[in-house]
């Protein structure tokens, strides 16, 4: 379980404590084991910062972030991150990109090989093992990113707008693929998005954040049945939650416009 209590993060603080920008303020929430939580909020609400803090990539100022009771002080083997811009090594082929995390964590060559073959099948990249990232479409690149994260068999998957850089069709296909994967092999997922459809389609709960400073506005339950198919998009529950999110986001952003 991920537990966040009273978390604050300030950027660019001077030595005398002045001049900083408060990115996150007093964040409280938890994500239960095998739960899929999506986080949505206007740009500048610090959602990516929050994810990077949970990933252990940046330090935080106040509060507490724990995973199964242990405080987060850095990256850990139970977590893996999927990045918005894919973050693939351009010099390495699909296979080497997928096994990168395993190799870093000291897996043997045979282990890496076996795992890579399994994952390539899982994400549907057979025949592309020796291709370089630049030879793949965006959707395929992110499937490599997903496979790389899954390869280390994490309990927790941290996804930072993973489909944000993709076109609508590809994004939908990958959402469906991710849902099938997750329903087949449950993991705890924290998924950042700026798409309301995506937030409701994927999440057990949607966390709505406010900007400047980022706070948790509300945690919204998504009482849609699983396994989910595209059919749920037509259900009244789906449309209601989406409408509710939009009302809130519009209110938050009208100040900016």
């Amino acid at each position: 379980m991920i537990r966040v209590r009273g978390l604050s993060k300030e950027f660019g603080t001077l030595d005398n404590g002045n001049g900083g920008v408060l990115a996150l303020s007093d964040i409280d929430f938890e994500v239960h084991d095998n739960e899929f939580v999506t986080i949505i909020g206007p740009s500048g609400c610090g959602k990516t910062t929050l994810l990077r803090i949970i990933a252990g990539l940046i330090p935080y100022d106040h509060g507490e972030v724990t995973i199964d009771g242990r405080p987060v002080t850095g990256p850990g083997p139970e977590r893996a991150v999927v990045f918005q811009n894919f973050a693939l090594m351009p010099w390495a082929d699909v296979l080497s990109n997928i096994t990168f995390g395993l190799e870093i964590r000291g897996a043997s060559k045979d282990e890496c090989q076996a795992k890579a073959i399994e994952l390539i099948k899982l994400v549907g990249l057979q025949g592309f093992e020796r291709r370089l990232p630049k030879e793949l479409s965006g959707g395929m690149q992110q499937r490599v990113g997903l496979a790389r994260a899954l390869a280390v068999n994490p309990q927790i998957l941290l996804m930072d707008e993973p489909f944000g850089a993709l076109d609508e069709q590809t994004r939908r296909l990958l959402q469906e693929q991710l849902l099938r994967l997750w329903e087949h092999k449950r993991k705890t997922v924290v998924f950042i998005t700026h798409s309301m459809d995506e937030a409701v389609m994927l999440g057990d709960r949607v966390m709505l954040m406010t900007p400047r400073p980022g706070r948790v506005k509300e945690m919204i339950d998504v009482p849609l049945e699983r396994p989910r198919s595209r059919e749920v998009e037509k259900s009244s529950a789906f449309l209601e939650i989406k409408e509710y999110l939009w009302d809130n986001l519009r209110a938050m952003q009208s100040g900016d416009a």
């Binding site: 990077r52 990933a55 252990g56 990539l57 850095g74 990256p75 850990g76 083997p77 977590r79 893996a80 991150v81 990045f83 811009n85 973050a87 090594m89 351009p90 010099w91 390495a92 990168f100 995390g101 190799e103 870093i104 964590r105 370089l132 630049k134 280390v152």
Partner: protein
């Protein structure tokens, strides 16, 4: 691919023939007995290569300084560039000196270096290093800077150590720029090698050049210069072949 290669070589040959034609035409109309025809130079080159033992000896001597100086330049230039690229404080410390080395004319310093280090190989190697290494440093630094921050963050997210980040992300990412730096560095090293021999240390190819020009054997002067160019081109080609093998992923960075 094959077809383009044939076309490329055909065009290169055409440029070569045109240049030689202009050269021959110029010489035959210039009425200057010191100016050698291209055919004279070609004959001179042939003579140097096959019946002039001193040429090979000179080439050997010059290459000692070149190879040693270039190796040292790579050995100093790449690590300094890597450090300056990765650590801001290193960059701030090195920046003014890199600026000095980049803009400083090296040739006027040659006499001072020779006074300090004598007429031996040490002075020649030192000058070659002075000519070459800073260009390798600057390119390596730029290469490290060009590595996407998100890749380093990705490696960290899997718990990579600093050593692993260097080996798996920073160095592979910087390689294309490092090679570009080495290509420029090699060109500079060849210049440095010939320059130091011409200016003060009468040894190697520089000595041969001085001798030939002293005897007004201009065809042999041209032939020697041509031999230096051919060697430099061969070294560059070897380096480019190595680069292509190692960094087939990168877009072609054509500097130098």
């Amino acid at each position: 691919m094959k077809k383009r290669n044939v076309l490329d070589w055909g065009l290169r040959l055409a440029v070569f023939i045109a240049a030689v034609g202009v050269w021959e035409l110029f010489v035959s109309t210039a009425q200057n007995f010191l100016l050698p025809r291209f055919t004279d130079v070609a004959r001179g080159l042939f003579r140097l290569l096959f019946s002039e033992a001193r040429f090979w000896q000179a080439l050997y001597i010059s290459n000692q300084a070149l190879i040693l100086g270039f190796a040292i330049s790579v050995g100093i230039g790449i690590p300094l560039g890597l450090l300056a690229g990765r650590f801001r404080w290193m960059d701030r410390v090195l920046n003014p000196y890199v600026g000095v080395l980049l803009t400083m004319p090296v040739a006027p310093l040659i006499p001072i270096v020779i006074i300090a280090l004598g007429l031996g190989i040490a002075a020649r190697v030192f000058i070659v290093v002075l000519f070459a290494f800073v260009f390798i440093t600057v390119n390596t630094r730029a290469g490290v800077r060009s590595v996407e921050a998100s890749l380093i963050e990705m490696a960290k997210s899997f718990g990579a150590s600093e050593a692993q980040i260097w080996r798996r992300i920073v160095i592979p990412g910087a390689l294309p720029a490092i090679f570009a730096g080495m290509r420029i560095g090699l060109g500079r090293a060849v210049t440095g090698m010939v320059m130091v021999e011409l200016i003060l240390v009468a040894s190697g190819l520089g000595r041969l050049l001085l001798e030939f020009s002293g005897r007004m054997q201009s065809d042999l002067v041209f032939a020697t210069v041509l031999a230096v160019i051919i060697e430099a081109l061969a070294l560059l080609a070897a380096m480019q072949a190595l680069e292509k093998r190692i960094t087939r992923w990168a877009p072609n960075i054509a500097i130098g």
